[in-house]
Symmetry: C2
Subunit: 259 residues, 2 copies
């Protein structure tokens, strides 16, 4: 591994390659120097579990989305901040509908792909950093499982406060989460148990991404039940007003800014 | 990582899961406890490069094969030993054509899947171990890039000798290799260079497989040019009689047993 690059860099290289494989634009990783190699996101968990997942879904057009993504974009109002815009699949769709949308990402590589695909408003940085830019929003989308960005009990209050600082009156947050507690797989139930013994939320995953020669530092990413999320939101500038769990174990949590 | 299991175990768990995802037979790894997770083979190289590849191809029916696989099975004669039978895709096809075929693998998990899919003759072990069983063959197939099993200058003579010990007069070996030297990617050309400086063949990869919580020890796996392979075969009981590189950089090397 060559150093410890930012999460954004690793994610960005992967998104750039996934885009190159999908479109033929730019150099692509090849198998045997000839066949485009499917781009795989490799996620290590701190208990040694490693999973790979094809990265192509970051580019998916709406007809390949999960149903909850459609329900999420149907709920937006006003100016939308797409938190973790990635390759821009959500932002592009909103733009096409005439919805004003800004894409935010820590990954320069992802932003480059989003721009190339036609997303017009893009900002590099974290939610916290974006507060100083003076822009304000009516809807915050954290899709693609990005409820995970709340990380756990330490990070959640700060992220909720930063979102509130970016919010216009009447603003909402729509976050896609996954309830991890339906599984009986001991690989996961044991991990949840060890997390709880260490004072963490059961599904407070400690992960790192790897892509080709790059690997990130370890970071926290949260999968939690709607009840746990309600606890995290309690006492913040936001109220949990709705949990849509039609696609259980996936759910959409909607927060409304307190007056 | 829980211990350092054999290559066969890691491969076998992966093949078992790929089979479960493809057929619905047996417990499957699920994403979010609900959606079957595509099974990904994760391969680490000793310079830190990590690649993932969907494992489903191990189950591919003939209409999804690469052209060189078809040309390889068209060349067999007599009783065939399928070295590294995996999930049995090649052996099943030969059986259907009425060709007597035995599948050999070090992975009990892979053998279990091959048996479940209908491969009748299966042997657990290495080529070297199989010599003592007294069976003899007319054709040895090393497909799915399994020319890699020759590893490098140290291992190749022993494997060629073991194959000769298993061979009937007039026997052939048909091995699928990949010429790695067409690439200009510095990640690979630099690796080849470092290998050569250490007295290894340029494409003598040092790899380990990872699957979920399992990881193998590091092992050598060879990608080499046909010229390098000719060098390895030189002075062995085998003669390199043909290199079919129609699908360059992939090629089929055919060896004939010396009289």
């Amino acid at each position: 591994m060559t150093g410890e690059p930012e999460i954004g860099d690793v994610f960005g290289e992967m998104i750039r390659d996934a885009y190159a494989v999908a479109t033929g634009i730019g150099p692509r990783p090849m198998a045997g120097g000839r066949l485009p190699r499917p781009v795989i996101e490799i996620i290590e968990r701190d208990d040694g579990l490693v999973n790979g997942a094809p990265a192509a879904h970051y580019l998916d057009p709406p007809d390949r989305w999960q149903p909850h993504d459609h329900r999420a974009v149907d709920r937006v109002h006003g100016h939308v901040l797409d938190v973790g815009v990635g390759a821009g699949r959500i932002a592009l769709h909103l733009q096409e509908r005439g919805v004003p949308v800004t894409g935010l990402d820590t990954s320069l590589g992802a932003l480059r792909v989003s721009r190339h695909r036609g997303v017009r408003e893009l900002v590099h940085g974290t939610v916290d950093e974006h507060v100083a830019d003076g822009r304000r929003y009516d809807t915050f989308l954290l899709l693609g499982n990005n409820l995970g960005l709340f990380e756990g009990r330490e990070r959640a209050p700060a992220l909720l406060a930063a979102l509130a600082a970016l919010a216009r009156p009447g603003a909402t947050v729509i976050a896609h989460g996954t309830d991890p507690y339906g599984t009986t797989d001991p690989v996961h139930t044991g991990y949840h148990e060890r997390n709880r013994r260490r004072g963490r939320l059961g599904g407070q995953l400690r992960l790192r991404l790897r892509y080709r020669l790059l690997g990130t530092e370890w970071f926290d990413y949260l999968v939690c039940s709607p009840e746990e999320f309600a606890e995290l939101v309690h006492g913040s500038p936001w109220r949990l007003t709705d949990v849509d769990d039609t696609d259980h174990p996936y759910y959409l949590a909607t927060l409304a800014l307190r007056r």
